[in-house]
């Protein structure tokens, strides 16, 4: 039995009850955002106003956990001050780190708040150690979140060639994302995560019920049509079913969730510093269920990594909250590559 460093568990919080659920169920860090378009989960009614933010930070830090603030959209023309204010606010509030994607904002934060710990967001498109080391050299970035396109061997290659901590996704809805450069939502609606902080904003989404069927439209475009007993997915273009060469299927991506429980020992072995759970848009119930399961798995790994095995109950609990009720190892496992 050997002991190795167990990755930190980073959990999502879209509300104060979700944050408390993450802390109470064993997250090492929570990540959150302001109630505005400076973060990529800018949904109506979601996220933290000033009062909730202060209480959330107090709650997490008093329990010995860290708070990471996502300011991971790209500053929009004429409104750069809004993003600068968000970074200044995060620093004043005493968060443990900010998660940034925009190079201009990384530059601003490193100049104005040299003691503020910087994480490179997954939207920052760093897939190679050269990109990660660039962010470290220029802005002092301490951790980088890798996009969900690399195989485990590629993640290991990045880790072996950098001193920046590496964070990877461990659970949650998969997204085409094109390494942070996806414009599918903009193609359909004119708005995207990088610009307004939301993919396929709800105001463009229509669920149409007809006998035995439900149709999903995004800005009028028919994305999918489900039978009554078929599982549904998020109303995004990438998760739609389209006719290609006479066949109708999920041409871009299946509605499914990433789940790395099976390869957790490998993830720890290659030196991943942190595992991120997706889902700031989800409810406290989801955060509690996923955090609890991931914590149990990481604890099992820390006790005895030689005899770690995935408990069926963990998989059942995670499968239930998964989009499309199915899970995949995603890009981590590509035996043909």
């Amino acid at each position: 039995m050997t002991r190795e460093k167990i990755p930190q568990l980073i959990c999502p919080a879209g509300s104060l009850p979700a944050l408390k659920a993450a802390v109470d169920n064993g997250a090492d860090s929570v990540y959150l955002g302001y109630k505005n378009d400076t973060n990529a989960r800018n949904f109506a009614g979601l996220n933290f106003d000033d009062k909730a933010m202060r209480e959330g930070i107090r709650y997490a830090q008093s329990h010995g956990r860290h708070v990471l603030m996502a300011i991971n959209t790209f500053a929009q023309s004429g409104r750069v001050a809004d993003w600068h204010r968000a970074i200044d606010g995060a620093s004043d509030l005493g968060v443990n780190a900010v998660i940034l994607a925009d190079i201009g904002l990384l530059d601003y934060a490193s100049r104005h708040h040299p003691n503020l710990r910087l994480h490179l967001s997954v939207q920052g498109s760093a897939t190679s150690y050269e990109a990660v080391n660039f962010a470290q050299r220029e802005f002092g970035v301490r951790r980088a979140v890798l996009p969900r396109v690399l195989t485990l061997a590629q993640v290991e290659n990045v880790i072996n060639n950098t001193t920046v901590e590496i964070e990877v996704f461990g659970f949650g809805s998969l997204c085409v994302m094109n390494e942070g450069r996806c414009w599918l939502s903009s193609y359909a609606t004119g708005e995207s995560p990088n610009t307004v902080g939301a993919c396929s904003p709800a105001k463009y989404v229509k669920w149409e019920k007809t006998p035995g069927k439900m149709s999903t439209r995004l800005n009028g475009i028919l994305i999918d049509r489900f039978d009554d007993n078929e599982p549904a997915g998020y109303p995004t273009l990438c998760k739609g079913r389209f006719e290609v060469n006479g066949e109708t299927y999920y041409a871009l991506e299946e509605p499914t969730s990433l789940n790395v429980l099976e390869i957790l020992p490998e993830i720890a072995r290659i030196g991943v510093a942190a595992i991120k759970v997706e889902g700031r848009q989800r409810s406290p119930a989801y955060v509690a269920q996923v955090t609890k399961t991931m914590r149990a798995a990481l604890d099992a790994l820390s006790v005895d990594n030689q005899h770690y095995h995935v408990k069926p109950a963990w998989q059942t609990d995670l499968a239930k909250v998964s989009e499309g009720s199915q899970a995949t190892l995603g890009a981590y496992s590509r035996p043909w590559r």
Partner: protein
Amino acid sequence: MSLQMNIPQFQLPDLVARIVSHLPQWPHAMTLTAGLNAAVKMKLLPPDSLALLEEHSFLVEVLDTGGRAYFTFRDGLFRPLFTAPQAPDLSLRANLSAFLQLLARQEDPDTLFFNRQLSIEGDTELGLIVKNMLDAVEWPNLPVISGLSR
């Protein structure tokens, strides 16, 4: 924060819905709006989200009980609608067990939606506002019902 019990997934017999749907529906709306207004008075619901509900019409339908509650939000209060609007701005439909699981924070609405146990129709953004508003509520501690504890 949540009810300390495990609510199973269940469905009431069809007969219940067949009978209840023929009864007057306004008592459901009265009960639901009274509950929501109590939450408003306790300042559990954020004013910025409430403001976005102003003058919108809602339908909450419990499929297996046959109960339907039509209501609106006006001047700071939820109010029953005694005449059903032709197409409510937002309709939420599920079986009783799913609504109870949502209220107890045992299940997440996205999960129920993916699994087709919760149906949302109408103004999707309004649905998101309602969902996120309820998610953000810090419910006062409720008494543990003995015998139902996990």
